[in-house]
């Protein structure tokens, strides 16, 4: 009996399955459809609220309506929605349909895509090291379009163009950039305790000692930090090294350092590491509200500065994008709960070094609409529109000199834009992003983690990194 029932159900199942296959085949045809809904939903605003865009720029590319451009980027919610809103202004100008694709697994996916001939039209690369890898290993990245290069020459300083170039050829315009030379603090807590924002490194150390003295016997300490970041654990500590390197020895030695003209275990590098150690490995200074020195290695970088809001820590060195990690309800303002000051230079130094990171926009196809879109992304119009997208709480700053800081909603972003546009500023890119992958996203991270977690001696750390440098 059971067998009979079984046969019946099998038939029903087979028919059901067949109809589902047919239904599914019908669905497959929609592969090239639009994704407008997500854009509108994510941005939460219309393009009419945004700064004006000069549509005449794109007339040189002919009639583009009905064409489409695919983009691919390692950006997620909610930023992806803001991008789609900003890009809609371009769509309105030209009639081009921009089809975005966002993934958190970008760095692995882009290589697979490019190698199998499935590259997107436009990709936003999170750092220049990946640009160099793609250019050298696949050869699929197109050199920057002349329209884009002309705009980059006009809108960005020479340094920035250099970071978008590989082996002397210009490939990519910067997208969103961040400044890493910030120390976060709580203006309200400073006021209460009568502290002032330090303007030199020496003042900053004095302030730290003052905080130690004022909080003797409690778990409150001047500094807090966290370097845990999954497989990228340690990068926060490498930023410390880079910032101190720029302040201690200036941009020339900095350039020699990441290009390996001086060895990684050079005495100058040792001086830098020791100086970083006077803060990060000083039991009196760290880790405010969290524990001892070793807890730095186990604290997520997102959580590293949170003790500031709890009054158990006063200073946290982290990039401008940390603005996204404060708990909801925290006022970010010069007289609010948290704010940031520029990581000060050494006493007597006139230099104003700024350590930066940036995304870069590359093209993989050369069609008129792709050219037009790449051109749009290099204009000041785009920088302003993207900055002014409603809902944007902070995090997007373009180093485009045409960016009007008034369009930035967040005070930290304004501060960042001012740093970028300061003609005196010495802009230097995050060195670990420029070093070979084996070091910059390998041994440099892991050894800095060892340095903190296992108290590995300074010299041994540098020797180990030097040994891992590929020939």
């Amino acid at each position: 009996m059971t067998v009979r029932v079984g046969r019946k159900t099998a038939t029903v199942a087979a028919i059901g399955a067949l109809s589902l296959v047919l239904a599914a085949c019908g669905g497959g045809d929609e592969g090239g459809g639009t994704t407008e809904e997500t854009g509108a939903a994510g941005g939460g605003g219309t393009t009419s609220d945004l700064p004006p865009v000069d549509c005449s720029v794109y007339e040189q590319f002919g009639d583009l309506s009905g064409t489409s451009v695919t983009t691919f980027a390692g950006i997620g919610d909610p930023e992806s929605g803001y991008y789609e809103t900003a890009w809609a202004t371009f769509e309105e100008c030209t009639g081009v349909d921009v089809v975005p694709e966002w993934t958190q697994d970008f760095e692995a996916q882009i290589v697979v895509r490019v190698q199998s001939g499935n590259a997107p039209d436009i990709a936003i690369l999170p750092q220049p090291g990946l640009l160099a890898t793609l250019v050298r290993d696949t050869g699929a990245v197109l050199p920057g379009f002349e329209e884009v290069e002309a705009l980059v020459d006009e809108n960005w300083s020479e340094d920035w163009k250099g970071y978008g170039s590989v082996d002397g050829t210009f490939y990519a315009a910067p997208n969103s950039s961040n400044s890493k030379s910030f120390v976060w603090y709580s203006p309200s807590a400073f006021e209460e305790a009568g502290y002032t924002v330090p303007t030199t490194w020496e003042e900053m150390i004095e302030l730290s000692d003052q905080i130690v003295a004022d909080n003797a016997g409690s778990t409150t300490k001047p500094w807090c930090a966290g370097i845990e970041s999954g497989v990228a654990t340690g990068w926060t500590a490498t930023d410390w090294m880079e910032d101190v390197m720029l302040r201690e020895f200036g941009p020339d030695v900095y350039d020699q350092w990441y290009t390996h003209e001086i060895p990684f275990n050079d005495p100058q590098v040792l001086t830098v590491l020791e100086k970083v150690g006077t803060i990060l490995k000083n039991e009196e200074y760290v880790n405010g509200g969290i524990g001892g020195v070793q807890t730095i290695a186990t604290t997520e970088f997102q959580e590293g500065g949170i003790p500031i809001t709890q009054g158990t820590c006063f200073l946290h060195r982290q990039a401008s994008f940390y603005v996204n990690f404060w708990p909801e309800g925290t006022t970010i303002a010069e007289d609010g709960d948290v704010f940031a000051f520029y990581l000060p230079p050494n006493e007597g130094s006139a230099d104003k070094p700024v350590l930066v990171g940036s995304e870069f926009i590359t093209a993989f196809e050369d069609r008129p609409e792709v050219r037009a879109f790449a051109t749009f992304l290099a204009t000041s119009d785009y920088a302003n529109v993207r900055a002014a997208v409603p809902g944007e709480a902070g995090g997007f700053v373009s180093a485009n000199l045409g960016l009007d800081p008034a369009n930035l909603a967040n005070p930290i972003d304004k501060l960042t834009a001012e740093q970028f546009q300061d003609p005196e500023a010495i802009i230097r890119f995050d060195a670990s992003d420029l070093m070979p992958g084996a070091v910059g996203s390998g041994s440099f991270w892991t050894e800095m983690t060892n340095w903190i977690a296992n108290d590995k001696p300074d010299q041994e750390v540098l020797d180990a990194i030097e040994a891992s440098w590929p020939d």
């Binding site: 067998v3 009979r4 079984g6 046969r7 159900t9 099998a10 399955a17 589902l20 296959v21 599914a24 669905g27 497959g28 929609e30 592969g31 090239g32 459809g33 994704t35 809904e37 997500t38 939903a41 994510g42 939460g44 390692g74 950006i75 997620g76 919610d77 909610p78 930023e79 992806s80 929605g81 089809v99 975005p100 694709e101 966002w102 993934t103 958190q104 697994d105 996916q109 697979v112 895509r113 190698q115 199998s116 001939g117 499935n118 997102q302 959580e303 994008f321 996204n324 990690f325 708990p327 909801e328």
Partner: protein, 310 residues
């Protein structure tokens, strides 16, 4: 068509009344005695408890408010119970999340990706089991051996082929890939299962004038239902939980991306929304959980039937 169906049923029916137990049945009853001792039950309960703890933690986390998730462990919930559906609300209906689209995509991906390999594997397994042709054993070993190819090494070559065929970015890539990856195991399991069916049964049908098609549908199919159900559950869970294949071949656009892709991106660009992950995981878990609860008796029985030869 209408006259023959009962025949195979009748062939099996006469075995009734007391009879000598086969070796397998003896082993089974022995195992049953051993496994139902109080000790075994105790150990099973402890294991079940230990293995449920992480899931329980996930469930509790998913109903805690964001601030609590970020500052303390889920176990503190017992001393400080809090309840909110905010995380679920954000995951399901949040401004740019749109779980429903991805849910539909997951179903559209999973069903053909289960049906296609099973259909092909059944036909192949029948041929391997009941049709004599030259080089059959060699071919069977070759198919079986394909199981050792890690799917990661095929990603770039397969994607290159899909790009050349103009399939990249469509559901076809995912359906075909999952079918390709599932076939060796499916063929192997169904083959073993079919081989276990007494030869006399098939031969009797052949004497009655049944061809391959009729033997397949009327004699073998009914007996294969547990095996098919088991493999369906197995394959469905695999496809539903897959991230790598879908992300690589179909990509992350809302047109084709399954739930797992959305889940992987749920925490936001800088991981600032990680408190949503537990709720997202629970939503994604519902369908496979139901499928498993519904099909688990087939799952174990069917896999054992195919794997152990008497």
């Amino acid at each position: 068509m209408t006259t023959t169906p009962p025949v195979p049923v009748m062939v099996e029916q006469p075995v009734k009344g007391p009879r000598k137990l086969t070796k397998a049945e003896l082993r089974a009853s022995e195992a049953k005695t051993k496994l139902s001792s109080p000790w075994a039950t105790g150990i099973a309960l402890v294991m079940a408890f230990l293995w449920t703890i992480p899931t329980l933690g996930l469930l509790i986390t998913s109903i805690r408010p964001q601030a609590s998730i970020q500052t303390s462990g889920w176990w503190t919930w017992f001393t400080n119970p809090e309840f909110t559906l905010e995380n679920y609300d954000e995951v399901l209906f949040g401004s740019s999340t749109g779980f429903s689209t991805y849910f539909v995509n997951s179903i559209v991906i999973a069903i053909p990706a289960v049906v296609i390999p099973i259909t092909i594997a059944l036909l192949a397994a029948y041929a391997f089991a009941w049709i004599d042709f030259r080089g059959r054993d060699l071919l069977f070993v070759a198919v079986f051996a394909l199981q050792i190819v890690p799917l990661q090494v095929t990603l770039i070559p397969l994607l290159t082929i899909y790009v050349d065929l103009g399939l990249a970015g469509s559901f076809w890539t995912v359906w075909l890939s999952h079918s390709i990856f599932a076939l060796p195991l499916a063929i192997f399991l169904f083959h073993n299962f079919m081989k276990d069916i007494p030869r006399s049964l098939v031969e009797a049908a052949r004497v009655d004038g049944a061809g391959h098609v009729r033997i397949f549908f009327t004699v073998l199919m009914p007996l294969l239902v547990p095996a098919i159900a088991a493999f369906t559950v197995f394959q469905f869970l695999w496809v539903w939980n897959d991230l790598l294949v879908a992300l690589t071949f179909a990509g992350g656009t809302p047109n084709v991306a399954p739930l797992t892709v959305r889940l992987a991106d749920l925490s936001g660009t800088r991981g600032q929304d990680w408190h949503l992950l537990s709720a997202g995981a629970f939503v994604a878990l519902i369908v496979p959980l139901m499928v498993f609860l519904f099909g688990q008796r087939f799952f174990v029985r069917g896999l054992l039937a195919g794997g152990v030869k008497g």
